[in-house]
């Protein structure tokens, strides 16, 4: 089945709401919708490598959905084609976390978020590429090839959820799920010109997410617009008995801004350490917020400068623990040696890539006696200080703000291969995204506004998207969505 050009145009720049409306009015069918995305995948994925696998039988699944009389009732994502990051388990499907270690691993259960998406009527198209075990900021650490940026294929899509962000940006799905530990949803969203939400720690169940760092990991949506992120977040969130770090927001915690003037704090940062383009976007965004009547001030997080070194102590420590399960015994790759110990050592040498090995060993180091106090314990204490900095910043009774604005990354998407020889350079990508994770805060990356004259100026060369980051207090997702939607409608209006 194919779509003629005129009909194809109906599917461009769809939102979940518009899709729902069109399905309800029978203007389009689920099958046509899925066909449209499959066609884009067919043309673009060979080069971009956003998808590692497109699932079989999705067209017949779509047909069944079209025959379903109950259809949209009570299913907020009915017929919505989604891409899923390769570290979220879907029962009966391959799940490899971008690693050779799990090349043949078949998930034996659905992640809780997957159950929720299925109940909401979503159609899962395939699994997307990622940095191996979510370690990286460019998707260059995948064991299955890099993912290119759809805006400029000489550049990276970002990471570690590069495949999910690229899939949305290239029109390969309506929306996607990614995971964020130190920026892995927000940074690729920024690089690919899409929206990426890192939710409040504990708001979305981690059951069925292949664990990297358990006190940081969160699953979140990557979408074409803020409202879609809100819709998907509302489907996947919620306390889960299978994840004891999850909970529902209490009434007291549910942030809902009423009355007083909205206050935005612009994060104080070293403008010399950041590309001119990024600084320009932050300044423009401040002007836009002023137009909305928001009160703007500068905020300083004095301990945020320790966020990246802190991150690279705490996260490798948790990684060394979480990846100990990959030993060739119950699942995954096995390379046999002469005895059990050699089985472990040979299997893990063969199954893990360089960055993974590096981080496991770094974790072993900071946890070992003699170093534990200096590194791990200190980092935990500094984590508490960073959390405290944010608490003070958001304390409205003491001159605080409602949201913090900052860059997502020091630059737009960098060239493929530019940072692969220097692990530290890659780690510094997390400079703006790591602080919120230290405090378990929700943060969203939204494509920054571009004026008509800017678009004309740049028409002779590929345009590189730049995202801006909004950070809210814990459980403050609604604030992120409200401001994000307002910013977007301003962007669209001009």
């Amino acid at each position: 089945m194919c779509l003629n050009k005129k009909r194809s145009q109906m599917f461009q720049n769809l939102t979940i709401s518009k899709t729902r409306q069109m399905l309800l009015n029978k203007e389009i069918s689920v099958k046509e919708l899925v066909t449209y995305y499959l066609k884009n995948i067919e043309t673009k994925n060979k080069d971009i490598n956003a998808y590692l696998e497109v699932f079989d039988n999705i067209l017949s699944e779509a047909e069944k959905m079209d025959e379903d009389k109950e259809r949209l009732d009570g299913r907020p994502l009915f017929g919505v084609p989604l891409a899923i990051k390769d570290n979220i388990l879907i029962k009966g499907k391959n799940c490899s976390a971008g690693s050779k270690m799990l090349e043949k691993y078949m998930a034996s259960y659905d992640a809780t978020v997957i159950k929720k998406l299925k109940d909401a009527g979503a159609i899962l198209i395939g699994r997307t590429n990622m940095d191996e075990f979510a370690m990286g900021a460019s998707t260059e650490n995948s064991a299955y090839g890099i993912t290119k940026n759809p805006h400029d294929t000489t550049r990276v899509a970002g990471g570690s959820s590069g495949g999910s962000a690229a899939a949305v940006a290239m029109g390969g799905c309506l929306a996607a799920l990614g995971s964020d530990t130190g920026g892995s949803i927000r940074q690729p969203a920024s690089f690919c010109g899409v929206v990426g939400l890192n939710p409040t720690y504990g708001s979305v169940s981690r059951s069925g997410l292949i664990a990297m760092a358990s006190s940081f990991d969160q699953i979140g949506p990557i979408t074409g617009n803020t409202e879609d992120a809100e819709i998907i977040f509302n489907v996947i969130k919620g306390k889960d008995t299978l994840d004891s770090t999850s909970k529902d927001a209490s009434l007291k915690e549910d942030k809902n801004k009423t009355g007083k003037k909205f206050r935005i704090g612009v994060l104080k940062y070293d403008k010399n350490g950041v590309d001119g383009d990024v600084n320009e976007k932050i300044e423009e965004s401040i002007e836009i917020f002023k137009k909305f009547g928001y009160e703007i001030s500068e905020v300083d997080l004095p301990n945020a400068k320790y966020a990246v070194p802190c991150y690279y102590v705490l996260v490798p420590a948790e990684i060394s623990s979480n990846l100990a399960r990959f030993d060739g015994v119950r699942y995954g790759l096995l390379k046999e040696g002469k005895n059990l110990m050699e089985d472990y050592m040979t299997t893990r040498a063969a199954g893990f890539g360089t960055e993974v090995k590096r981080r496991i060993m770094l974790g072993a180091y900071v946890l070992s006696s003699g170093y534990y106090d200096d590194y791990y314990l200190k980092a935990q204490q500094i984590r508490a200080l960073i959390k405290n900095d944010f608490q003070k910043t958001f304390d409205l009774s003491a001159g605080g703000v409602d949201l913090v604005v900052s860059p997502v990354s020091p630059s737009a998407a960098f060239k493929i291969g530019e940072r692969t020889n220097d692990p530290l350079k890659m780690y510094l990508e997390d400079i703006f995204t790591a602080p919120a994770k230290m405090a378990g805060l929700p943060a969203i990356s939204i494509p920054s506004y571009r004026s008509r004259s800017q678009m004309l100026r740049d028409s002779s060369q590929p345009v590189l998207p730049i995202g801006i980051q909004l950070i809210a207090p814990r459980w403050g997702e609604k604030l992120l969505f409200d401001v994000g939607k307002k910013y977007e409608s301003f962007s669209r209006g001009s």
């Binding site: 119950r330 096995l334 060993m361 180091y365 590194y375």
Partner: protein, 99 residues
């Protein structure tokens, strides 16, 4: 800090080249994270670091029916291992642990 020792702790065989490369990278990474050692925690007392976090536990019973997942999980192992050494009677089998 011996890379060899860390590799053993991590249960990862490293080639000579890998060892040399990681040694160099580690020096740079450790120099970077050492900024934490110099960070001044100020006058904060122990109370500041007390956490509001609680352990969430359940009763040690009724998680699921006995052997509910055994067949499926054993199949996962046996289908990806050579021969039939690695599973037996609903158990996963390994080489001997003690010498």
């Amino acid at each position: 800090m011996e890379i060899e020792k860390l590799a053993n702790l991590s249960r990862i065989n490293l080639s000579l080249e890998e060892k040399e490369k990681i040694q160099k990278e580690f020096e740079a990474i450790l120099a970077y994270i050492s900024i934490l050692k110099r960070a001044d925690l100020g006058d904060l007392n122990k109370d500041f670091f007390e956490t509001e976090m609680l352990n969430v536990v359940r009763e040690d019973e009724g998680a699921h029916k006995a052997e509910e997942y055994t067949e499926e999980l054993i199949e996962l192992v046996s289908s990806h291992r050579p021969g039939d050494f690695f599973t037996k009677d609903g158990y996963v089998k390994v080489k001997h642990v003690f010498e």
